[in-house]
Symmetry: D2
Subunit: 391 residues, 4 copies
């Protein structure tokens, strides 16, 4: 019943945090704030919470942010906070996609670490420039591919790393949802509006919103590099401007084969991200909606149902687990683990030390890989579904 | 607690049946025999049970077949039985694939109805000739795509036919197994031997053995016609002569999109055929290993778990159900339903009548469609995974 | 992919069978007939299928029973068949409970083996007399506690027998249904009518109909003997004459503790018999509605999902399995195994030989144990829920 | 995708909180702290974190508690904090059971609100005195029966309250674990040590630790009052001083019947609290380990799988939900909801206002009910398992 490192709630070195986006009514901003609070490693002290000034102000009051640290724009915030002796050390960027890159640049240039939602940018070129900037700045950049924070995802990655599956042959990853089955973008859903708008989302709809999560998860767990993909993006809902359905074949270096399916029109699916991996010696299956379980089979042996913090848990899973087995952890805890890892990296950066060697988080390189994946998918699909190199 | 028509065990008009293949040690032959017995509609009275004469004889004795009706070859059997006044009315062909077509021809030409295992032939040309022969002969030809016999598969088909899903957009069908993860064909498994031998299986390995089942099931349930497919067939196990892993994109007439995945190297999967269908109004999910359940969601409403013979069962499902809800039916009952349907058709043919209008079974046309699917998949894969018309 | 002994479909020594009850419209009679046919070991040649002469006759015609072997009463049938050189060797008794004992007596006295539905009689005294008669007659008597025929139930029994659970401490068995939630006995359900009628069912309603199944299953799997029970029987539906809900505490010899819950008013349950057993070293869980699975945990190790004919299958399970893993077997196959075991015993009896030592079926002693259990439950409940010895 | 009231992270009125117990290495203390942080409604500013002074001090440093507000005893803390103008408004008591009552008294008498772990006290008498004190003090007293905080538990309660199940007939509640299968109290597990020690736990082992949770959950969801119980407590592990296995029959006012099973030796169960309720019109099933789901069946209709924040969610569930459907919430979020409710009550108490009418939390009366349940269970068991009034 031990509590993993993520549960360490030492507050001695809390990170001073600002936020861009995430004002009242936003979904993902509230998620980031809970994630930042769970382990008590952050203190939210500044914000540019909305492009609407009144909403920005009201949101700041509600969150206990001092009036003078509630800013009208992220540019102003980066400048002002960099100038304060008690200025923020890190910023969370939780806006629609098209703001990610300019905001990230502003804070990195001001010497402030960045925690950024995905997809990282709206184009590959923008992503490449951001990689350069992060590298030259020496700042911490964390991309919130939050599903990599789930303990059983860490477990799966560790097991594959240790050779428990032998050589990976087959990757099946799928991410069906149903919330865009009808044209929700016309019925006042803010979430649906910007996600189906190319100006704010970039060239990908479903592929950018959830396809990248699926792609990132498969890469994170298997460690495989993609050679090429063959994609067919479809828009089922009449009038919609971006894809709402994604079918992709993947060829990995070394010969493994993958299939990626993502959909926002698969009625009866809420958020059913699922990863299955089969190797020469074993197989693994994990489902986001039941995240405390991991199915594992050694070839020729009975199927095992591994549980978070139960028998068979690897140290890499225990490290990011807060509760004993049978006490379910969920989406927010997985998200919080990304924040806890970010806090470790940021605190180590204060003194120029390296963070705990077990520290893992999605980086700016993962963000670039995601953008290259989206670009290749769009290119392949437009060219008539032909094999297209990734990156 | 009523028992469906399949359970009717009237024996007044038992069909006299012969069998080709299925001697001692064969798997699928024994399955066919149990399926034929379950509803008591057949009487097995003749056989050419093995190409090995001693085994043929011993098998016949064990099955209570009279010595003079145990034959050394299917040709002999067709000839002799056609000449007897009490000769067989129908034959079950349960051999490796390459014998299906010649045996079927022999019996059809002798005026005997045919029940044949799948895939129907080893080439499209052979399949086309068989279609012609069936049509000119006027005989009943039943292909044992047995998964179409499951009550909840019938239920799914009926619901889609009645518009409960609206227009079908998405078809996800998968069929993972793991029994060929290693090179079982070298370790004495007869099943593995012929299934991985192009001479006996035809041009497809996994695609022919289980890919066709998946393809047929999707077509049976949705009623959609395939326009084109894009396939990548892979052989993972070194030295194997046929594919053991299949990835296919499908374009259906009317705009629906499909993905078909079949594998014989997916460790931890026994026989995990699964079909998911999503339309403009609803979604359905069915899994062969838990066949008494069907998940159904109307968009915007709670998910429902429909059970065989439970609340919400359609007449088309009840018709082929033998037991009340909660009393699980399985693979053999689904298979038996194909036999029960065959018996209805054969008995109707005695008098030239039409069978009960609800009678449904996979036909020679379905067999041809399956062969065209295999051929298109092999062609697409060899050509570098390009869109290829089917049929 | 081998087929177990149950699948052996040798017909060389088919058992000539008669049936009492089971005319048109009856549920359990049809089940017995399918079970008898699946492995091809029986031939139904005589019947007293209904107390209604017209229905008896029509049913016989439908089943292909010769007119002169369709009898008006079981007494007549026992007499006439015993006198024929080709008379039946065994009879299946599938009537309401109150007919079981007199019919069984008649056939045993005529030298005919008996296969009888449960509960065996309506009183303990009747059961004791039947035990005596079976023993003095030397005839085979098989009680169709069909759930003992499931392969994974055999597996559980074998594992406990081999000590895989250590000493058994805890037995949780439950059997919820919902079909008597309302007063179905007034709405024309024949099943409901006689099951809620003390004259035809005996002193127990739910306890006799399904409680005995649960009790028998727990005893079969664990091998434990009951010391005493404490029962509370409840009738929830106003006007009903027998219990429809059962709660029982059990004390087993050696110190194990049990809980048995059975209900016919538990809305949302079809036939959800479930057994869980916990010992000093491990635990097992099995559910009738998903009978191809058995959960097994060694203390301190990951949970395993054992599958019928999959990795980890014991010989005792393989012996009664007809299909490879992933090809689900169901209720009818489990029932057929009881018939296959009966056939083995009856054929051995022809020559005075012992049947295959692995042959297992519920006996007249199990029937007596079931009646003692019902009696003790009724007694305990009436006495205010006090501990009552069983047997 | 709206976020419920619990997700409101307004910090304008943060509650100043102290903690008794919960020093380094404690499990439940860390859980309380995360729960208090998730919604940002509390600020931990004082503590008497351990009876071991060095550990208390080190724990306080780690948690960012000022040195002068880290106390050596709860008595000192109550006194000193009551005297400070910025003293704590509320205290969380997370010690072994025997300290709950004296600590609660000290803070209530000092005018400080109390959040207390369960079971509330070690005797009924102590619990009754505490009820009196809470009532005379006018302070908020919250008992952390945390399972009442799960959204789908709130949903179940709301549905029953609205009559969706008709009259409740049957309550099945079970809580199996396996962590005390062997004598863990001798192998250095602190959790096991005090929980099996009558001096620190009171007269109940398993019954007090988890049996009360099960009892409370059933009462919370159904609203039924218990008339009497009949209990059998067992100690399976040799040498253990308290029960590790619980079987209880319950009679509720109005005629409903219940069964409660709790075990700490059920191998293969981590924390498998499960509640099933059946009424005249419908049934519900909920499992703690998969808390985002609730099975619901209307009699005669298909089973529905309701999901947290999915279609069919009641306002009472949405109110305490932080994430859209498919984004699993877990144990910590349910626990946090108890804290969020406490914060609402405490803030309302600042001005003498009533909290939001939807505010629900387990009270001192629930704590008394729990103690009466434990006492009755121990009494019934010792008296030979006879019906015993509760309270």
């Amino acid at each position: 019943m031990a509590i993993g490192a993520s549960g360490s709630d030492s507050t001695s070195g809390r990170v001073r945090l600002g936020m861009v986006g995430g004002g009242q009514g936003a979904f993902i901003g509230a998620v980031h704030r809970i994630a930042a609070r769970i382990d008590g490693q952050f203190e939210l002290v500044a914000g540019a919470l909305s492009s609407d000034p009144a909403r920005a102000k009201a949101s700041a009051v509600e969150l206990g942010i001092a009036a003078e640290r509630s800013y009208g724009s992220f540019e102003e915030m980066a400048r002002a906070e960099a100038a304060r002796p008690d200025g923020i050390e890190a910023v969370s960027i939780v806006t629609p996609n098209h703001v990610h890159a300019p905001a990230a640049r502003a804070f990195l240039e001001a010497g402030i670490h960045v925690i950024c939602d995905k997809p990282m940018t709206t184009t590959v070129a923008e992503a490449e420039r951001l990689v350069d900037l992060v590298e030259s700045s020496g700042k911490v950049f964390v991309l919130t591919h939050n599903y990599t924070g789930y303990p059983m995802v860490r477990q799966a990655r560790a097991m594959i790393g240790k050779g428990e599956l032998g050589d990976v042959r087959v990757v099946q990853v799928e991410y069906p949802q149903d919330w865009l089955t009808e044209r929700a973008e016309l019925s006042g859903s803010k979430q649906a509006e910007w996600r189906t708008d190319p100006k704010r989302s970039g060239a990908g709809g479903c592929i950018g919103d959830i396809g990248t999560h699926a792609y990132n998860l498969a890469a994170f767990v298997t460690g495989l590099e993609t050679e090429a993909i063959l994609a067919q993006l479809t828009t089922f809902v009449p009038g919609r401007l971006l894809d709402d359905h994604v079918q992709i074949m993947l060829r990995y270096k070394g010969g493994a084969r993958g299939l990626l399916w993502a959909s926002q029109v698969a009625v009866g699916n809420e958020n059913a991200l699922k990863l299955r991996i089969y190797g020469t010696k074993g197989g693994l299956e994990w489902t986001q909606e039941d995240p405390n379980y991991l199915w594992f089979t050694r070839f020729g042996q009975p199927k095992q149902l591994l549980t978070r913090a139960g028998a068979g848990a690897q140290p890499e899973a225990a490290r990011v687990s807060r509760l004993p087995g049978g006490h379910p952890e969920g989406y927010l805890e997985g998200f919080a683990t990304i924040y806890a890892e970010a806090a470790r990296a940021i605190r180590a950066a204060r003194t120029g030390a390296s963070p705990d060697p077990g520290t893992i988080y999605p980086t700016v390189q993962d963000g670039l890989a995601g953008m290259r994946f989206i670009e290749a998918a769009v290119t392949s699909s437009k060219a008539g579904n032909i094999w297209t190199k990734v990156g």
